[in-house]
Structures are given as structure tokens and as C-alpha cells.
């Protein structure tokens, strides 16, 4: 009995001491003066723009580095009531697809435009996963200016990666799907009827305008990520594939059986030649191409009818397969273009392939076999080497331009720094928790800026004040200027960031559009001055041509509108100064507000559902008299003969 008491006491002491025996966590990961390295003093600017995918919010976040401050949320594939994106008549066509108006998408990856493998940061490209699309964002206005739908595709995940001078942006399909005339087929017929199309979208070097140049009909694998060759490997593109088992059910198990999947190497220069030589086949495919015209401040949607498809089974020497261990996610080319790093998310090593060896193997026809007539190269012949024991679950690799690679490890929640040439692991740091993509300024280009690295984590848990079941996704900033990686900052993000890119702010900071010249506003409903303000009736449509300038709307008293009329408010912001947007909202509107930039015209459609007097007002605090910026619109019952009347500032 006495002995038991002593044992109990000893046990309790052990329990009490136990927490102090646990290995130390994040607290000890911060060393040195991290705070001063991320402190951007009031009034100072961040050094880098960080363009971050928003994942399931369909938007892009613009973040400053090293502070981690969010500067803007810019809508791409998702409606944004905050500024009327997808609600105003001018923006609605941007979200048009062959399925009609689609108000949401899942935006995973960012590609910042490059010239000769260096960031020029003229445009940001982003992919829409769910209803396959690629968007182009103008980085002088931070506005989505073009969206092109991708036909024959489903789950546009392997996208939007670009070639070194932004000649092409690619879209590889995650889901292989039946295509062509008859797509109503049994899912069991996956191997015969399903195809994996890879799209090459040409980008006009002057205007950025996209054009679906050609598609390659690849085997029905799942295409995951991609990277263009650069410098010495310019002209090639590398796509990671999984589910080369070609399973169509319970992929978790059935697509994880083979020891090796493939990196699909595409000689796009060769494909281009075949296109020029007329070797492609034109196939029917319906897809929307939406463009924003900044002279009219409005979008146009055009439905396209056909696409050019190349068949690599017939057209030899476009497609080669490199065996790569276990369901590769990242396939990343180093800044020189010589090395291709495959990150097999279920693999225990990281294979590094050599472009030179690949070319030699192709030259010698050193193949281990073929896949539907397309050569499969020998793993050993193409391999530069393997990084041994890097960690668990390698996902994605970025580069610092000093010969080092940084690979994220999802399963072991860490980042591993290793030497590309020697394959030696140099350093490893923990992430909190389960890191997905990494982003180094200029990291995917031929000229990385190094200095910082951001880890985009998938799991957040205890990192911030808790906010119920759903938590902010966490990003972490590391200093990579020294030999050892140093954690500097945790910051919450918007949506669920997947990939992001960063570039020096100096590239675009002085090119920002501050306002639109009112004289150049070619919107058919634009007003050039307050004298043009008016209301016109056309049948049951009422067009209100309205001006906004600090601090009034003209007209601000409107009568003669009936229930059921389609009322269009064409509001022109006459301001010609930076940072003076005006908003417009009317009670009961089933849309959202308008947020109109200086010199811009936007249109809100409103169908009044009841008689009465409806107030409207400016929603963006514009001046000391903002709260006075308001008006009234009278609605009479259907069929009334209330005279159409409008005025501003007239008092009886």
C-alpha cells in the first residue's frame, strides 16, 4: 500500500514535468532580429509585389513582401460585390463560358510574364480549375482583362505555366475526359474514350491577347503541374503526370500503384512547326473568349467554334515520357534550364533529370519502350542524380539563383535546401504546417532574386487567434540570403493560396494607372460633363445617364419610372484625380454596388419591384460631403403615367 502511494506520487511528478520534456517548437525557431527584417515603416513601401492565388475564392491577393501586408484582393473568376465585378453590365461578359455565366472558380496558380526568362511583370496569368479557363491580369491596372475558356479539358490544374518570353501559356487537363462528337460514354470505357488534352495558348507579345493556338492529344493521365524549359532547354515543356494507371475510381489507391509515373516532355518548337506545316486537325469545340477593353471600360465575350489538335501518336518527336517516381506534383526547371526536378509526392527521393542527357537519349533512341507509339525514355539515362533522404512528400521546388534548390515537404512539414549540382542536403526548416507550394521572388525564372522565400501552408491549427472551425490559411516568410534558412514571419492569407510569384516592386510601381482620361472614355454611355446628364425611356427600359463628382449625382431626383421597368444606371465618374472612386447603390437592387474609378463609366441594372421612393447614394467615402452625395428615384405602379422628370439642385 505504502509503496503504491510512492509510485502514484512519482507518477504525478512525472506527468507534471512531462511538458518541459517535449521538443521545442516554433518559439525556438525564431532567432536573431527577425522583426526588423520584416518591418516596413509607416509610409515606406515593400520591396516585392507578391501575387498570390486565392484558391477556392477565385481571386488573387496582392501582398507586399517582406511585410506580408495584403494590398488588394482582385477578382478574377469570381464575382466580387465589393466592386461590382460580375454584377455590372460591363463586367458580366468576363465570366461568360460555354456553360453560360459562371460566377466562381478555383484559382490555383500564378504565372508572371517574362522576357528571356526574366520577369517583365506586364501581366499575371491565372488558371481557373473547375470550369477550365485562363485569365490575364494587367499589372498596370490590377484588373482582369482577358479570360479564355479551355475546351476538351476538365480540372485545369496543370496551368498557367509560361514559356520563357511568354510565347505560350499552357493548360494541361487534370481530369482526362471523353472529347469529340460523342461524349456520352460509359465511365468504364476510360482507356478507349478518355483523352488528356494539353493546350498551348499563344500570347501576343505587344498586347498580351491570348489565342488558343493548338492542343496536343495526350494519353488519359492526370496532368498535375508543368514548367517550361528555359535558357538551354528553351523550346521544351515538362508536364508532371499521375494516374498513369488510368484508373477512374478510387484514385487514392488505384492511381498510386505504379512505382513510377511520368514527366511528359513536349518539344513545343517542333509542335509549332507541325502547326505551320498544316499537320493539325481542326476539331469542333465550343469555348468562350472574353476580353476587357479599357477604352470602353467594358468586356466582350466571343464564342469560339473550333480548335486545332495535334496527335503525337502520328506526329513523332513532339512527346517523350520520362519515368518519375510516384505521382509527381512539381516538375521544375532550374534557372539554367539544365535540370528538371520531379517532386514525387509519394516518393522517398527527389530525382533530378538532365536536359543534356535527355537530348542525348532521344538522339540515341535510348528508350525503354513506347506508350501508344510515344517513346518512354530510360530513367537512368536521363537522371542526373537523386537527392537522398530529403524528407517526406516532396511537392514543389523553387530556386535562389545561387545553385540551390528549395523543396517543400508536405508530409514531414518542412523545407529542404539542397545543392542542385552535388544533390547534397544543406539545410532544413520546419513549416507550420504541411507546406504546399513555395515562392521565391523570381524563383521560377532564369534570374531569381533570392532573398526571401514564402511557404504556403495547407494546415494552420494553432498559429493564430482561433476563428471557429474555419481558419485563415497560413503563410511563412523565410530569409534565404544566408547559408541557413531563417523563419521571419507568419502571416494569414485570403482564400487558400496555392502557388504565388513575387517580383521587385520597381518593375511596375511607376507604371500604375492612376485614373482614366475622361476625354478618352469610349463607353457608349459615357458622359463628358454634368450638362450631358439625362434620363431616357425606350419602351420599358429607362436609361439614367448619371455623373458623379464630389459630391453630387446628376440627376439626383428622378420620377416617371414604373414597377417592372428595366432601369439602367450608366454612371460616369467625372473625377480626374488618383484615389477618388465613387460608388453607387440603390435600395433593393438584386445585384451589387458599382465602384467606379475616376474617368470610368459603369452600368447597374435594376428592376424595381414595388412603388415608392428609392434612395441611392455614394458608397465610397469621397469627401467631406460624401454623406450628402445621394438622391431619390420615384417608382410608380405598373402602367402609371407619371411624367419622366429628372433634375439636380432645383428647389421650388
Amino acid at each position: 500500500m505504502k509503496k503504491n502511494v510512492w509510485l502514484l506520487a512519482a507518477g504525478m511528478i512525472a506527468v507534471a514535468l512531462a511538458p518541459s520534456c517535449k521538443p521545442k517548437g516554433a518559439q525556438s525557431a525564431i532567432s536573431g532580429d527577425a522583426a526588423s527584417k520584416v518591418y516596413v515603416a509607416p509610409g515606406e513601401h515593400d520591396e516585392f509585389y507578391n501575387i498570390v492565388s486565392g484558391g477556392f475564392n477565385g481571386q488573387i491577393s496582392v501582398v507586399g513582401l517582406p511585410s506580408g501586408r495584403v494590398l488588394k484582393i482582385l477578382p478574377v473568376f469570381s464575382v466580387n460585390p465589393e466592386n461590382g465585378w460580375g454584377y455590372s453590365e460591363e463586367t458580366k461578359p468576363m465570366l461568360n463560358t460555354s456553360h453560360g455565366f459562371v460566377p466562381w472558380d478555383d484559382l490555383h496558380h500564378i504565372a508572371i510574364s517574362t522576357t528571356n526568362a526574366e520577369h517583365d511583370a506586364r501581366w499575371a496569368f491565372a488558371n481557373g480549375n473547375n470550369t477550365p479557363r485562363i485569365a490575364r491580369v494587367d499589372l498596370t491596372t490590377f484588373k482582369t482583362v482577358e479570360i479564355i475558356e479551355i475546351p476538351n479539358s476538365a480540372g485545369n490544374h496543370s496551368s498557367p505555366f509560361i514559356t520563357q518570353s511568354t510565347e505560350y501559356v499552357v493548360a494541361g487537363t487534370r481530369f482526362s475526359v471523353p472529347t469529340g462528337e460523342n461524349t456520352d460514354v460509359s465511365i468504364d470505357t476510360y482507356k478507349e474514350n478518355f483523352k488528356g488534352h494539353i493546350s498551348f495558348i499563344a500570347v501576343n507579345p505587344e498586347t498580351g491577347r491570348m489565342n488558343l493556338s493548338f492542343q496536343i492529344e495526350a494519353p488519359p493521365f492526370n496532368f498535375d503541374l508543368a514548367r517550361a524549359g528555359k535558357n538551354k532547354s528553351h523550346g521544351w515543356f515538362f508536364f508532371s503526370t499521375y494516374n498513369t494507371e488510368m484508373a477512374h475510381t478510387l484514385l487514392e489507391v488505384n492511381a498510386s500503384q505504379k512505382d513510377k509515373d511520368y514527366i511528359m516532355a513536349v518539344n513545343w518548337k517542333k509542335a509549332e512547326e507541325y502547326v505551320k506545316a498544316g499537320q493539325g486537325t481542326k476539331k469542333k469545340a465550343k469555348y468562350a473568349h472574353n476580353t476587357w477593353d479599357e477604352s470602353t471600360h467594358s468586356a466582350t465575350s466571343t464564342m469560339m467554334e473550333e480548335v486545332l489538335v495535334l496527335d503525337p501518336k502520328i506526329l513523332k518527336d513532339i512527346v517523350y515520357f520520362i519515368p518519375c517516381p510516384k505521382s509527381p506534383h512539381g516538375t521544375d526547371t532550374d534557372p539554367t534550364g539544365e535540370y528538371i526536378i520531379g517532386s514525387g509526392k509519394l516518393a522517398a527521393i527527389i530525382p533530378v533529370f538532365s536536359f543534356t542527357k535527355m537530348l542525348a537519349a532521344i538522339e540515341k533512341k535510348d528508350f525503354e519502350g513506347t506508350l501508344d507509339g510515344m517513346p518512354v525514355l530510360k530513367y537512368e539515362s536521363v537522371l542526373h542524380g537523386e537527392v537522398e533522404k530529403p524528407g517526406l512528400g516532396p511537392l514543389h521546388t523553387e530556386f535562389d539563383g545561387k545553385g540551390n534548390a528549395y523543396t517543400s515537404m508536405f508530409v514531414s512539414s518542412e523545407i529542404v535546401k539542397w545543392n542542385i549540382e552535388t544533390l547534397e542536403v544543406l539545410d532544413r526548416v520546419p513549416t507550420y504546417y504541411s507546406v504546399g507550394h513555395l515562392s521565391i521572388p523570381g524563383g521560377p525564372t532564369g534570374k531569381p532574386h533570392g532573398k526571401y522565400m514564402v511557404a504556403y501552408n495547407k494546415i494552420t491549427k494553432d498559429r493564430y487567434l482561433p476563428t471557429g472551425p474555419e481558419l485563415a490559411h497560413s503563410a511563412q516568410l523565410y530569409d534565404i540570403s544566408g547559408d541557413k534558412m531563417q523563419l521571419l514571419l507568419d502571416f494569414p492569407t485570403i482564400g487558400e493560396p496555392h502557388y504565388a510569384e513575387s517580383f521587385p516592386a520597381s518593375l511596375i510601381k511607376d507604371k500604375q494607372v492612376k485614373f482614366f482620361q475622361i476625354e478618352k472614355n469610349m463607353n457608349p454611355h459615357a458622359l463628358k460633363g454634368i450638362k450631358e446628364a439625362r434620363v431616357e425611356r425606350k419602351g420599358n427600359e429607362v436609361h439614367v445617364y448619371m455623373t458623379s463628382i464630389r459630391s453630387n449625382f446628376r440627376p439626383d431626383n428622378i420620377e416617371g419610372v414604373n414597377v417592372g421597368d428595366e432601369v439602367y444606371f450608366h454612371v460616369t465618374n467625372l473625377e480626374q484625380d488618383w484615389d477618388v472612386p465613387h460608388g453607387f447603390a440603390i435600395k433593393g437592387a438584386n445585384t451589387a454596388e458599382l465602384l467606379i474609378m475616376p474617368g470610368e463609366t459603369s452600368t447597374l441594372k435594376w428592376v424595381p419591384d414595388r412603388a415608392g421612393v428609392f434612395p441611392f447614394y455614394c458608397t465610397d467615402f469621397c469627401s467631406a460631403l460624401h454623406q450628402e452625395m445621394q438622391g431619390y428615384l420615384r417608382v410608380s405602379p405598373k402602367g402609371s403615367n407619371t411624367a419622366l422628370k429628372f433634375s439636380t439642385g432645383e428647389v421650388e
Partner: protein
């Protein structure tokens, strides 16, 4: 009548030619700074038009009931080009005559012109600053908004500056040359 030395005559010619840039350069500038305009709002007055942030200044000033600034506000824009032309021509005539009296006359004329400009600017500024719309949104008892003639002045939340711009500085340079010519001439005279 005393003839001028060649070098003094050349100084007159240069002074006359220095009037010509007035056609191509701004003559006067008015700037405003406020907490929300750290970069400042700047208006330039040229020989026959205005440039710069005129619209923004109008936008800001309408709250306190100031008149809308525009080219039509300055009748001077219709005749200043001729006045400047005549001054240049008279300067060249003074050079051709090359007598002491022509130098003195030209200098006097230029000084008079400068004075007239200042008087005119003051008159405009007084009008602009005092002639306020009685229905203005913001009325501050006893406050007027006359811009400074030359130099800085605080007006509510704004700091205002007014002063000559490039064209006027060149003109002033010409007048200084005339002064030098006068001084040299007097020294030459006393040396005789």
C-alpha cells in the same frame, strides 16, 4: 546724346531676346499642399493658358465657394502675347538705337511691366480669394482665401505658395542684364 558701348548694346539685345522664352515657358506658379495632398497640387500660368492640377484645385476649392478657375477667368490671356511681342520689338529697337536714353527707357518699360504684372496678380488673387459663393458648403467666419502674391501662406488645411516660374525667371535675368548695362555705362561715364 551718349552712345552706348558695343558690349552694353549686346546686353540690351540679349535682354530683349530673353523675353521670347515667355512664349514657351510657364510664367507663374501656384502650389498647394495639404495632409491628403503630400505630393502637392500645382497650377502653372502660361502666356495664354493654364496647366497643371487646375481641375483638382477647382474640386477642392468649390467646398469653400471659390470661383471655378479656367482660361476664361484671365482676359490677360487674349492680349499678353501682343504685349510680350511689343516689349521684345522695343528691346530690339533700343539695341538698334544704342543710345543711353534707349537703355534707360527699355529698363523703365520692363520694370513697369513687372510692376503691372504684380498689381494684376494681386487684383486677381484678391478677387479670387474674397468673391465667395454665399451658398458654399463650408463657410468660415471672417476667412478669405487670397493666395499669397509671392511666397507662402497658410489657408485652412492648405499651405499655399505663389511665385514666378521659369519664363519669369528668364525675364528677370534679362532685367538684371539691363541693370548691369546701366551700371557699366555709369562707370564708363565716370571714368571719362
Amino acid at each position: 546724346m551718349q552712345s552706348l558701348s558695343t558690349s552694353n548694346r549686346i546686353l540690351i539685345l540679349i535682354a530683349a531676346l530673353l523675353i521670347i522664352p515667355s512664349y514657351f515657358t510657364p510664367l507663374w506658379q501656384i502650389s498647394l499642399w495639404a495632409p491628403q495632398y503630400p505630393e502637392g497640387l500645382n497650377m502653372k500660368i502660361w502666356i495664354d493658358h493654364l496647366s497643371g492640377n487646375v481641375d483638382q484645385i477647382n474640386g477642392v476649392n468649390h467646398y469653400i465657394g471659390m470661383n471655378h478657375i479656367g482660361d476664361e477667368m484671365f482676359p490677360e490671356f487674349t492680349y499678353l502675347i501682343y504685349v510680350i511681342g511689343v516689349l521684345t520689338a522695343l528691346g530690339i529697337v533700343a539695341f538698334l538705337i544704342g543710345k543711353r536714353w534707349s537703355l534707360y527707357s527699355f529698363f523703365g518699360l520692363m520694370a513697369l511691366f513687372g510692376l503691372a504684372v504684380l498689381v494684376d496678380m494681386y487684383r486677381w488673387g484678391y478677387q479670387y480669394g474674397h468673391n465667395l459663393d454665399p451658398k458654399a458648403a463650408i463657410k468660415v467666419e471672417g476667412m478669405s482665401y487670397q493666395p499669397p502674391l509671392i511666397g507662402y501662406k497658410e489657408l485652412l488645411n492648405f499651405l499655399a505658395y505663389s511665385g514666378p516660374d521659369t519664363g519669369s525667371w528668364i525675364l528677370i535675368g534679362g532685367v538684371v542684364l539691363l541693370l548691369i548695362a546701366i551700371i557699366r555705362d555709369r562707370m564708363e561715364k565716370s571714368a571719362l
